[in-house]
């Protein structure tokens, strides 16, 4: 059920400002693809164009095409809301819904979109929490508010919430940057497990993390201040970290730059 993503000539704008320019690449199904690069180079913007979240920001617009198994997400007649049900997202800071219990947070996507029987919900919630390696920690307090969990648990709750709607692709925007090493490890283990089921794209500033979890890595960079971000190269993670094709990638990875 995991899908392949092909991006062709993608530009993204905030109003008149061009944030990323002419990106073309492919994301393989059932694998983890990492985006690395210096701050402000458009990694997150690019990630958000993959489930049409970019246009939620004011002035956000996109040119080019994103093909999900051959279907253009920016084609005519495509409903962005429906796209987001297929391509889920986990954010940098854990953001469980504060008014909802742990159970309701996980069930939120299904409940709010409707069409799911109450009796089926229990199973989905349990499966999703197990999938996010959180079930054992919260099974006795499913009715307590989600905001009472620790940061790492909250982030796993958000992952459970995202996978509960059964997306094809899971986008993660620096999911571990607000977490301690142990919670980070828990989420990295989770990614390794989830890639059997989903296509995962992760933005990270932590190069060791990219090397540990991803199968393929894309390096982004800016030509200069005020210039749009560009894709420098994308390849197998092993190759990027051992023998990159472009000098800038090597400089960035070895810490000589950015």
């Amino acid at each position: 059920m995991a899908k392949r993503i092909d991006i062709n000539g993608l530009n993204a704008y905030y109003g008149d400002f061009k944030a990323i320019e002419d990106i073309s690449m492919s994301v393989e199904p059932k694998s983890v693809t990492a985006f690395i690069g210096p701050s402000g180079c458009g990694k997150s913007t690019f990630l958000r164009t993959l489930n049409r979240m970019h246009e939620v920001a004011s002035g956000g617009r996109v040119e080019g095409e994103v093909l999900l198994d051959g279907e253009n997400l920016y084609g005519p007649g495509v409903d962005p809301v429906a796209v987001r049900r297929v391509v889920g997202m986990v954010f940098q800071r854990p953001n469980p819904f504060p008014t909802m219990s742990i159970y309701d947070n996980v069930a939120a996507g299904l409940k709010l979109n409707g069409g799911v029987k109450k009796s089926d919900l229990d199973g989905v919630v349990e499966e999703s929490l197990k999938g996010a390696n959180l079930w054992n920690e919260v099974k006795d307090r499913l009715n307590k508010p989600g905001s009472g969990l620790s940061g790492g648990q909250q982030q796993r709750l958000c992952i459970a919430r995202a996978i509960a709607v059964q997306p094809q692709v899971l986008l993660m925007d620096e999911p571990c940057s607000a977490l301690d090493p142990i919670s980070t490890l828990a989420i990295e283990d989770l990614m390794a497990k989830l890639k059997d089921q989903f296509t995962i794209v992760i933005v990270t500033h932590n190069m060791q993390q990219a090397a540990r979890v991803s199968d393929r890595t894309a390096f982004f960079n800016l030509a200069g201040v005020g210039q749009p971000g560009r894709l420098i190269e994308v390849d197998d993670t092993q190759k990027i970290f051992s023998n990159p094709a472009v000098q800038a990638t090597e400089d960035y990875i070895s810490g000589r730059f950015g």
Binding site: V56, F91, N95, P98, L112, K144, P145
Partner: protein, 355 residues
């Protein structure tokens, strides 16, 4: 001084980090002293008003403490004490009138406030005699405020949702501008507007409903403003989290944004209700006042608590004064209960953080 006799304080003094401080009871003593001096000045100068005594004491306290502190502790500490003293004086200036108002209302109002007063109207009561009650006015106030709320709260809420979630460009700016203008409408003008449109142009008679229309005009902008602020407080991340689950925008607003801010919104609506409950001027023009019970807010003159207080006071005799104070007490209690209910709802509905 030899090393053996040096105390820890002496040693620390080499660093210059020890400063003389006023003792803990210092401010209290200065306060008591300034009060005593103020009373003495008041008696000697023959000042009648206790308020003047209090003001003299406050000024003496602020100046006295600054002078003493700057002598003993140095300028920085003295400034700190000056700021603290000013905060305390401002606090007292705000609280004393409030406390005395409540004390006065309770002391004078409790005299005739009883079950009879709450359950009877002024029908057939001779104004110079004791008796009669406030039932018709309380009923009128509840009906008028309820109708005004039913009109103003939904419109205000939807306007705020439009402004925060959807509004862009000229229309949103125009709406914001007109809401600001509406905030500044004097209540009598709102009353005159409804009088000219509803009663004079359209030919309807005096009624509680006409008063409700004017109250709704006064209530709407405050509801919009407070709701807007509360909606802006909802973090954008929550909206994005909901969108990322494939939830449509309207459902995100309904199920995520509003529940998150419902506590604050309720408080805002309740405060604006409290505000219009005390309005008198438009009701004078539109509801007219009525000594008898009129259950129907849509037809005929009604009474209301602020109007009742005004009428009783205008009667100008002892029995009416008592009724006016008792009605004022009922009005304050009514608003207070509303506020407590709002607090309760806000606490009950607001996001919980417990484990």
């Amino acid at each position: 001084m030899t090393a053996t006799t040096m105390t820890p304080a002496d040693r620390a003094d080499h660093l210059g980090i020890h400063q003389p401080r006023l003792p803990k009871w210092g401010p209290a003593v200065i306060a008591a002293g300034s009060a005593a001096v103020a009373i003495a000045i008041g008696l000697v100068a023959g000042l009648q008003s206790k308020i003047q005594w209090g003001l003299i004491a406050a000024i003496l306290f602020v100046i006295g403490q600054y002078v003493i502190a700057s002598r003993v502790e140095g300028r920085r500490q003295a400034k700190d004490r000056l700021a603290t003293a000013l905060v305390w004086v401002a606090f007292l200036l705000a609280v004393v009138p409030l406390a005395s108002l409540i004390y006065e209302t309770i002391a004078r109002g409790i005299k005739v406030l009883n079950g009879y007063f709450l359950t009877h109207s002024m029908n057939g009561v001779v104004t110079i005699q004791p008796g009669g009650g406030v039932y018709h006015a309380l009923l009128g106030t509840i009906e008028q405020v309820a109708i005004a709320t039913l009109i103003a709260a939904p419109i205000g809420l939807l306007t705020a949702i439009y402004l925060v979630e959807y509004g862009k460009g000229k229309l949103a700016k125009a709406v914001t501008f007109f809401v600001d203008v509406m905030t500044g409408i004097p209540s009598i003008v709102a009353g005159l507007f409804i009088l000219s449109v509803w009663i004079m142009m359209l030919g309807f008679g005096y009624s509680g409903f006409a008063g409700s229309l004017a109250l709704a005009i006064l209530m709407m902008p405050t509801v919009v403003r407070s709701t807007e602020e509360m909606l802006k407080l909802v973090p954008n991340e929550l909206r994005e989290a909901s969108y990322a689950l494939g939830v449509p925008k309207w459902k995100t607003i309904l199920k995520v944004v509003l529940p998150t801010s419902i506590g604050g919104i309720t408080t805002g609506v309740m405060l604006s209700i409290a505000r219009i409950t005390g309005e008198t001027a438009p009701l004078l023009l539109l509801v007219f006042g009525n000594p008898m019970i009129n259950n129907n807010p849509f037809e005929g003159a009604q009474a209301s608590l602020p109007l009742y207080i005004y009428e009783q006071w205008a009667n100008g005799n002892e029995a009416s004064y008592d009724r006016a104070w008792a009605a004022a007490l009922v009005l304050i209690a009514f608003v207070m209960i509303l506020n407590l209910v709002a607090r309760g709802i806000a606490r009950w509905k607001s996001p919980k953080t417990g484990r």
